[in-house]
C-alpha cells in the first residue's frame, strides 16, 4: 500500500440512470442542493407527499430539460434525496413536483402540476433585477440554484461587540443608495452600501440592521396608485420567498448570479470597519399568503406542516398578511434553526431581529405557549451563542410582550414602551417623568426582575414602521394617501406633535422648534441605558411627507436624499456628536442596572434624580422637567476624564434654570451639549467643552436638553 494514496470511495458511483442522467440515492443531510464529488445531492422533506419529482432547468429556460421521478428507494423516512451526476451546476435551476392528497379540511393542498421552490435553496434565480417586470405566465418564477461556499473571508469573524456598546442604524438596502444623489456606481444594492461605508464610519454607528434581505417578490400585491399612476411595490420586503437566499435584485452582480459573494463581501468590508450586521428576519409568515395566494414552496411541499391551520384547514392569520408559519412544529423549528445557523456561519452575520416575534411563541393552533421550544432552541444554540437575538415582541393577533417576551436570559426586545414614553415626554405630555426615569435607565421595571441587563432593551424613537423623526415633529396625523388605501393603513397612535403647523411651513420659529425637538430626541436616545437604534436618514432630517407606512413606495418618498448630508446640516453635526459622546462615556453603556445608591464610597449615587432643584426631582403629574446625574465612581471613565454626566431635560414651553448638584471642590462643570443653543453651538467635541462659569445653575431653554460633564480641574 502506498502511503498517502486516497482510496476512492465506492458510494459516489452512480447506481441508477434516467433520461441519460446517472443517479444514485442521495444523503438526507444537508437539506437542499449540495455539491458532492461528481454531482449534486438534492434533499427535500415532505411528511405527507406520496411521491417526489426533481425538475431541472437550464438557467432562464422556459421548460425543464428533464424531470426525474425519485424511486421509493431514494426516500429515507419523509426525506427524498438523490445525487445527479455530471450536471452543469453553474447553469442549473431546479425545483420539485410533489404528489399527494388535495383535502383542504385535512390541510393538504398538493398539486403535482406545480413546480415548487426548495425551501433550502441558497440562491434563487428568476428575479435577478429589481423591478424588472416578470413574465406573469412563467409557471415557475422563483428557481433554486446552487451556491458555492468558496468565498475568501481573509480571516473575518463576527465582531461580537458587547450588546451595550452597539449603536444600531436601521436601514433599507435599496433605499440607502437608490437616490441619484447617492452617486454610487450601483444604486440600491449591496455594492452601493459598500461605497457608503465611510459615511457610516463618519456618523459613528457600529451596527447596521438591514430590513429584509432574504429573497422576496417586490411585485407581490403590486398595483398602480389610482391618482398618480405610479407602480406600488412590496418595497419593504416583509414577505419571504426563500429563507436561505439573499435577494438577487439587491446585488449589482445579481444578473450574474453572484449575490452571495457580493453580500459576503459587504459584510467583510463592514466588519473591517468595526460595523456589525444584524438581519431583520421574517419567520411569522411567507409570501404564499392565504388560500388565494400563489404556490411558491411550502403550500405544495407540505401545507399541513408549514402553516398554522384552523380545524377547518383554513390559514390562521396572526401576521395580518394571510398566513402564519407553523414555527413550533418540530420540522419548521429545525428549518428556522438551520436557517439562522446558516446565516451566522456562512455569512458571519452578527445578529437577527425577528419581525412579529410573538408569533414564534404560538402553538400550531395559534394559542400562546407556556413552553416555547423554538425560542429556547435559538437562545441556547451553540452556533448562535454570540449572535444578538432581538424580538419585535408583539404580533398582529393581539399578543404584546414587551417586558415579558420569553427571553431565556438571551433575547433582547424592541422596546415599544420606550418609544411611546419618549415621544409623549418630548411633546410635553403630563404624567411622563416617572416612566421616563425607568426608560432612561434601560427599563429596569421591565427587565431587572428577570435578571436581564439594560441591553435587553433596544431603545428606539423611530423605525421603519411609523413616522421618520422629521415627520414626528411635523405632523399630528398620518398622511398615507399615496398608499392608495384611503389613509386607512398605518398606525393612528403616533404620539407625534407638529409644533404648531401640520406639515410644510416657512415659519422660522416653528422650524427652529422642530429642529430642537429632533435634537432632543437624538440626545435622549444616546443618553439612555440600553441599545440605541436610529432610523436611516433621521440623522439628516429625512421626511416621508407624513406617510407613516411607506411599505409600497420605491421612490424618493423612501430613498435617502444625500443632498441632506452636509456639514451645514445642524442635525447631522449634532447626531454625530451625540454618538461620539455616547462612545466616549462608558457610564452611558452600563452592563448592569443602576443601584441608585453610592456603591463605591464616592459620596454620590451611581444615578441621582433632580429637577429645577438639585436632589429634588419633581415626580408630580404636571411636571415636565427632569434631570439626572451619573457618577462614575468605579473609574470606568474610559478615554475621558469625565467622572460625572448631568442631563437636564426641559419639556416645558418656558426656559428654566436648573440648580446643579455640587461637585467635589476640585471639579468643574463643562457644557457638552445644548439642544437649544444657537446654530453651531449645540454640541462640543469631547475634551473641548466650554467650562460653566457658574457651577451652581444652568439655564435650559424651552423644550431643550442640556448635557454637562464634570471633571477634575486640570
Amino acid at each position: 500500500m502506498h502511503a498517502g494514496k486516497i482510496i476512492e470511495p465506492i458510494d459516489i458511483q452512480p447506481t441508477h440512470g434516467y433520461g441519460g442522467y446517472k443517479l444514485r440515492c442521495g444523503t438526507p443531510f444537508p437539506f437542499g442542493a449540495t455539491l458532492v464529488p461528481g454531482g449534486v445531492n438534492f434533499s427535500i422533506y415532505s411528511s405527507n407527499a406520496q411521491s417526489c419529482t426533481l425538475v431541472l432547468f437550464e438557467r432562464h429556460a422556459a421548460e425543464p430539460f428533464i424531470e426525474i421521478p425519485l424511486p421509493d428507494e431514494f426516500r429515507l423516512g419523509h426525506v427524498y434525496c438523490v445525487i445527479v451526476f455530471n450536471l452543469d451546476y453553474e447553469n442549473l435551476e431546479y425545483g420539485y413536483r410533489m404528489e399527494g392528497p388535495y383535502d383542504e379540511q385535512a390541510g393538504h393542498r398538493f398539486d403535482a402540476d406545480r413546480i415548487l421552490l426548495d425551501p433550502y435553496a441558497k440562491i434563487i434565480g428568476g428575479r435577478d433585477l429589481w423591478g424588472h417586470p416578470p413574465n406573469w405566465d412563467n409557471p415557475y418564477p422563483h428557481r433554486g440554484r446552487i451556491a458555492l461556499d468558496d468565498f475568501d473571508w481573509e480571516g473575518d469573524r463576527p465582531l461580537e461587540i458587547p450588546p451595550q456598546d452597539l449603536i444600531v442604524y436601521e436601514m433599507h438596502t435599496r433605499g440607502f443608495t437608490a437616490h441619484p444623489s447617492a452617486e454610487v456606481g450601483h444604486p440600491g444594492t449591496f455594492a452601493g452600501i459598500m461605497d457608503k461605508i465611510p459615511y457610516l464610519k463618519e456618523l459613528g454607528v457600529n451596527c447596521i440592521e438591514l430590513m429584509p434581505i432574504f429573497e422576496f417578490d417586490e411585485f407581490e400585491n403590486s398595483r398602480t396608485q389610482p391618482e398618480t399612476g405610479e407602480t406600488l411595490y412590496n418595497y419593504w420586503g416583509y414577505s419571504t420567498v426563500g429563507f436561505f437566499a439573499p435577494k438577487a435584485g439587491y446585488a449589482a452582480t445579481g444578473r450574474f448570479g453572484m449575490q452571495v459573494d457580493e453580500l459576503k463581501n459587504l459584510i467583510k468590508q463592514l466588519h473591517r470597519e468595526g460595523i456589525a450586521v444584524i438581519l431583520d428576519v421574517v419567520f411569522n409568515h411567507t409570501a404564499e399568503g392565504n388560500e388565494k395566494g400563489p404556490y411558491i414552496s411550502f403550500r405544495g411541499l407540505d401545507n399541513q406542516t408549514y402553516y398554522m391551520l384552523t380545524p377547518q384547514g383554513e390559514y390562521y392569520n396572526f401576521s395580518g398578511t394571510g398566513n402564519t408559519l407553523n414555527c413550533n412544529h418540530p420540522v419548521v423549528r429545525h428549518m428556522v434553526l438551520d436557517c439562522l445557523r446558516y446565516w451566522a456561519s456562512a455569512y458571519h452575520v452578527d445578529g437577527f431581529r425577528f419581525d412579529l416575534a410573538s408569533i414564534l411563541g404560538r402553538d400550531p393552533r395559534g394559542g400562546p405557549m407556556a413552553n416555547l421550544p423554538l425560542l429556547e432552541s435559538l437562545a441556547f444554540d451553540p452556533v448562535l451563542a454570540k449572535c444578538q437575538l432581538i424580538a419585535e415582541a408583539w404580533d398582529a393577533g393581539g399578543l404584546y410582550q414587551v417586558g415579558s417576551f420569553p427571553n431565556y436570559g438571551r433575547w433582547q426586545e424592541w422596546n415599544g414602551k420606550y418609544r411611546d414614553c419618549i415621544r409623549k415626554f418630548l411633546k410635553g405630555d403630563m404624567g411622563q417623568v416617572g416612566e421616563m426615569a425607568q426608560r432612561l435607565q434601560g427599563s429596569p421595571d421591565l427587565y431587572q426582575a428577570a435578571r436581564r441587563p439594560p441591553s435587553a432593551s433596544v431603545n428606539f424613537i423611530t423605525a421603519h414602521d411609523g413616522f421618520t423623526l422629521a415627520d414626528l415633529v411635523s405632523f399630528n396625523d398620518k398622511h398615507n394617501e399615496a398608499n392608495g388605501e384611503n389613509n386607512g393603513d398605518g398606525a393612528n397612535d403616533n404620539n407625534s406633535w407638529n409644533c404648531g403647523v401640520e406639515g410644510w411651513t416657512e415659519d422660522q420659529d416653528i422650524l427652529a422648534l422642530r429642529g430642537r425637538q429632533m435634537r432632543n430626541a437624538i440626545a435622549l436616545l444616546m443618553l439612555s441605558q440600553g441599545v440605541p437604534m436610529i432610523l436611516m436618514g433621521d440623522e439628516v432630517g429625512r421626511s416621508q411627507r407624513g406617510n407613516n407606512n411607506t411599505y409600497c413606495h420605491d421612490s424618493e418618498l423612501n430613498w435617502l436624499d444625500w443632498s441632506l448630508v452636509s456639514d451645514d446640516n445642524e442635525l447631522f453635526r449634532f447626531c454625530k456628536g451625540m454618538i461620539a459622546f455616547r462612545k466616549a462615556h462608558p457610564m452611558l453603556r452600563r452592563p448592569a442596572f443602576f443601584s441608585n445608591r453610592d456603591e463605591t464610597g464616592s459620596g454620590y449615587p451611581d444615578i441621582s434624580w433632580h429637577s429645577v432643584q438639585a436632589w429634588n426631582a419633581d415626580w408630580s403629574g404636571t411636571s415636565r422637567t427632569l434631570a439626572f446625574m451619573l457618577c462614575d465612581g468605579r473609574g470606568e471613565a474610559g478615554g475621558t476624564q469625565d467622572e460625572f454626566v448631568y442631563v437636564a431635560m426641559n419639556m416645558h414651553w418656558e426656559s428654566h434654570g436648573f440648580e446643579l448638584p455640587g461637585l467635589p471642590a476640585s471639579h468643574d462643570w463643562y457644557l457638552a451639549a445644548d439642544t437649544g443653543a444657537r446654530s453651531g453651538a449645540c454640541i462640543h467635541a469631547p475634551g473641548r467643552e466650554p467650562r460653566l462659569e457658574d457651577p451652581s445653575v444652568v439655564a435650559v431653554g424651552d423644550r431643550s436638553v442640556v448635557v454637562l460633564v464634570g471633571r477634575a480641574r486640570p
Binding site: D152, A252, M258, D261, K264, Q269
Partner: protein, 106 residues
C-alpha cells in the same frame, strides 16, 4: 467568440492570454491550465484579459482558486479587464485575491 487561452512561460512568470467568453465549460479548462502551473514554481501569474469578453462566476472562482493553490508568494495579476469583468470582480470581493491593473507590471 468562443473561449481560447494561450500560455507563455518566461523565467518565473506565467502569462495566460484569455480570449472570448469564459463560461462554465471554459472555466474547467482554465482551471486545468492553472493547476498545471502549480509545480512550475513561478513567482507571478499574469492573466491578460483585454480580449476577454465575459467571465462567468465559475471563471471568477478560478481566480480565487489560483491564488489559494499557488500560495501567498505568487502574485496574480489580471491585466486590462473590461469594465463589466472588472466590476464583477470588485463587487464580489475577488479583487482581494488578485491585482487588477491596466497594464502588465514591469
Amino acid at each position: 467568440m468562443s473561449y481560447d487561452a494561450t500560455l507563455n512561460l518566461t523565467d518565473d512568470t506565467a502569462r495566460i492570454r484569455l480570449m472570448g467568453e469564459l463560461d462554465y465549460q471554459a472555466a474547467l479548462q482554465f482551471q486545468t491550465l492553472v493547476e498545471g502551473l502549480v509545480k512550475e514554481e513561478i513567482g507571478r501569474l499574469v492573466l491578460l484579459a483585454q480580449e476577454l469578453e465575459y467571465m462567468a462566476s465559475a471563471g471568477l472562482r478560478v481566480l480565487v482558486f489560483a491564488k489559494q493553490k499557488m500560495g501567498p508568494k505568487v502574485d496574480v495579476y489580471v491585466v486590462g479587464a473590461r469594465e463589466m469583468v472588472r466590476e464583477t470582480i470588485e463587487k464580489a470581493g475577488f479583487d482581494h485575491s488578485v491585482y487588477l491593473v491596466d497594464t502588465e507590471p514591469a
